[in-house]
C-alpha cells in the first residue's frame, strides 16, 4: 500500500507550507473525549475512594462506547482512520523501527507503523478494561449489566485482571505521549496540535496511504443501531434480579425486636455459627442485657440461620464471614471491617450523627438492605462529640 519515499526526510518548518487534512472530525473528537474519559476513570480508579464508583463506571462506559465507535470507524472511515490503511505487518513494523534507530526513517502523513500498533493496543486494552470492569461491578457490587449472573468470586478474580490492564493502559498512554513528542521533535511538526486542527503539512517524500473514501452515513446508521442495541441490552440485563443478592425485605419480627437499640443488621452480615452464638448469649449482648423470651429467641435464630451470610453472594456476605476469633459476632472487629474503615477518624464514630461504629446506617444509605454499595456512602460532615 505504501509508496516508498524518494528523498531524505523533509524537515522544513511549517511557514507557508501547504496543509493536508489527516485527522477527520470524528477521530479528533474521539481522541479528546477518550482522553477525558480515561483520565476520569483513571483518577477515580487509582486515587479516589470507592465512593466514586458511579463516576468511575460512567467514565469507563463512555470509554467503551468510544472505543467501539472507533473500531467501527476503523472499517468505514477515510484514509487515515481506516485500519487497513495504517496497520502494517510486523515485518514492516520492524523494518520501520530499524530505519528509525538508524536515523533515516521517513515521515508518515497518518499513523506510522509503531503508532498503528499503539492504537490497536490502546483500543484492545480499553475494551479489556471495560469487559473486566463490568465483571467486577457485577460480581462484587451486584450491579450493572452482569450483576444478574456474576458471582462474587468471578468478580473478585476479574478485579486482578482489571487492575493489571489499568496499569498496562497507563504505561501505553505514557508510551503513546512519548512517541508523539518524539515524532514531533524528529519531524519538526507539532503532532498534538495536528490532533486538534486535523491537518498536517504536505511534504515531499512522505509515506502515502492508498486513499479510502469515508462512509459517514452508513457508519452513523450502523453505530446508532449497534449503540441502541447495546444500551437496550445492557438496560434489560441490569434490570434483572441480581445474583444471590438480598432482595426480600427483613422479617417483620426480626426488624422489630432487633432494631430497638441498634439498626436491624441484615442477616447476611454474619455467618451462621456467629448468629447462633449471638442468639445464645443475649443476656450479655454488647454490654447490655437484651434477653428475649424463649419462643421469640427460637424464631429469630431460625430466621437468621436461614438468611445468614452463607445464603447470599454480596461483597459483605463474602468478606464478613471471616470474623475476629476473640469476638466472633462483632462485625466491627472483623478484619475486613477494620481494614475498610481504617481511614475514618474516631471523631466521626463518636459524633452525635454516628454515635457508634455499629451504626452502619449513619453513613451507608443502603445498610438495611445488606448491599453496602459504595456509591451510597455519605459520611456526616458534623463531628460534634
Amino acid at each position: 500500500m505504501n509508496v516508498q519515499p524518494t528523498g531524505p526526510l523533509n524537515r522544513q518548518k511549517s511557514a507557508g507550507k501547504r496543509q493536508q487534512p489527516v485527522w477527520d472530525i470524528f477521530v479528533r473528537l474521539f481522541h479528546w473525549v477518550l482522553v477525558a474519559a480515561v483520565a476520569i476513570a483513571g483518577v477515580t480508579g487509582f486515587l479516589a475512594g470507592a465512593t466514586w464508583i458511579d463516576i468511575h463506571v460512567l467514565a469507563g462506559s463512555v470509554m467503551a462506547g468510544l472505543v467501539l465507535a472507533r473500531i467501527l470507524w476503523g472499517f468505514l472511515g477515510g484514509t487515515h482512520a481506516r485500519f487497513s490503511r495504517f496497520v502494517v505487518s510486523p515485518a514492516k513494523t520492524i523494518a520501520h523501527l530499524k530505519s528509525l534507530l538508524q536515523g533515516h526513517s521517513d515521515r508518515h502523513a497518518g499513523h506510522n507503523p509503531l503508532g498503528a500498533w499503539m492504537i490497536l493496543a490502546l483500543l484492545a486494552t480499553g475494551l479489556g478494561l471495560a469487559v473486566t470492569g463490568y465483571i467486577v461491578f457485577g460480581g462484587e457490587q451486584k450491579a450493572g449489566p452482569l450483576g444478574f449472573a456474576t458471582s462474587y468470586e468471578t468478580g473478585h478474580s476479574a478485579k486482578e485482571i482489571h487492575e493489571l490492564l489499568a496499569w498496562a493502559l497507563l504505561a501505553l498512554v505514557g508510551l503513546h505521549i512519548a512517541g508523539a513528542l518524539f515524532e514531533s521533535r524528529r519531524t519538526g511538526e507539532n503532532l498534538p496540535r495536528s490532533m486538534v486542527t486535523g491537518t498536517k503539512e504536505v511534504r515531499d517524500g512522505d509515506h502515502l496511504s492508498a486513499p479510502a473514501k469515508p462512509h459517514p452515513g452508513p457508519a452513523l446508521a450502523l453505530g446508532m443501531m449497534l449503540g441502541s442495541l447495546l444500551l437496550a441490552g445492557g438496560w434489560n440485563l441490569s434490570a434483572r434480579p441480581d445474583f444471590q443478592a438480598p432482595l426480600a425485605p427483613l422479617d417483620a419480627g426480626y426488624a422489630q425486636e432487633c432494631s430497638a437499640c441498634h439498626i436491624a443488621y441484615h442477616p447476611s452480615l454474619l455467618p451462621r455459627p456467629a448468629w447462633s452464638a449471638l442468639m445464645a448469649t443475649l443476656d450479655e449482648h454488647f454490654g447490655e442485657d437484651a434477653s428475649l423470651d424463649a419462643k421469640t429467641t427460637e424464631e429469630l435464630t431460625a430466621y437468621l440461620s436461614a438468611h445468614s451470610a452463607e445464603a447470599f453472594d454480596t461483597k459483605a456476605a463474602n468478606r464478613l464471614t471471616v470474623t475476629d476469633p476473640a469476638h466472633p459476632f462483632t462485625i466491627t472487629r472483623s478484619p475486613f471491617w477494620t481494614r475498610t474503615h481504617a481511614d475514618i477518624p474516631d471523631a466521626v464514630f463518636a459524633s452525635q450523627a454516628v454515635k457508634s461504629k455499629g451504626n452502619c446506617a449513619a453513613c451507608h444509605g443502603d445498610a438495611a438492605s445488606g448491599r453496602f454499595y459504595p456509591g451510597t456512602i455519605s459520611i456526616p460532615k458534623e463531628t460534634k462529640p
Binding site: 437499640c261 441498634h262 454488647f286 454490654g287 447490655e288 442485657d289 434477653s291 454515635k355 451504626n359 449513619a362
Partner: protein, 134 residues
C-alpha cells in the same frame, strides 16, 4: 367574684383535660399491680431517686437509667448504638406503660444492665408512678 369563679372553673377544666389525656386504664392497672405487690405505698420521689441515681452491680457501660434515657425525660434518649429512644415522660409520650409485656421486657433487660439484677415490684411501681406524673 363571678370572674374568679369562671377562671377557677376554666383552670379546673384544664387540669381535668390534662389528667384525662394522661390517664389510661391499662397504665393504671399496671401500676396498681405493682402497687399491690409492693411492701410500701408507691412513691414518685423514690422512683425519681432510683431513676436518676448511679447504681453498682450492673454492666460497666450503663451505671444509671440516665446513661441512655438522659436526664430530660420529655426528650428522646439515645442508645449506646446511636438509636433514638422515645421520651419516657407520659406527657411527652402518652402510649408509655400501657403494655405490660413491653414494660416487663424492658424493665427485666434494663434492671439487669444497670443493677445486675431484676427490679422488685416496689421499684417498678415507684418508677412508673414518677414517670407517669411527668
Amino acid at each position: 367574684m363571678k370572674h374568679l369563679i369562671l377562671i377557677k372553673a376554666a383552670a379546673a377544666a384544664l387540669v381535668l383535660t390534662v389528667a384525662a389525656a394522661q390517664a389510661d386504664p391499662a397504665r393504671d392497672a399496671i401500676i396498681a399491680t405493682y402497687g399491690k405487690a409492693a411492701a410500701q405505698p408507691l412513691s414518685a420521689a423514690r422512683g425519681e431517686a432510683f431513676f436518676m441515681g448511679t447504681h453498682a452491680g450492673g454492666k460497666p457501660d450503663t451505671p444509671s437509667c440516665t446513661s441512655c434515657h438522659s436526664k430530660n425525660l420529655k426528650a428522646a434518649g439515645v442508645t449506646r448504638a446511636g438509636k433514638p429512644i422515645e421520651p419516657m415522660a407520659v406527657s411527652a409520650n402518652p402510649k408509655r406503660y400501657t403494655d405490660l409485656a413491653f414494660v416487663e421486657k424492658w424493665l427485666t433487660r434494663n434492671c439487669n444492665s444497670v443493677l445486675g439484677r431484676e427490679c422488685d415490684a416496689q421499684e417498678k411501681g415507684d418508677l412508673l408512678t414518677w414517670l407517669s406524673s411527668l
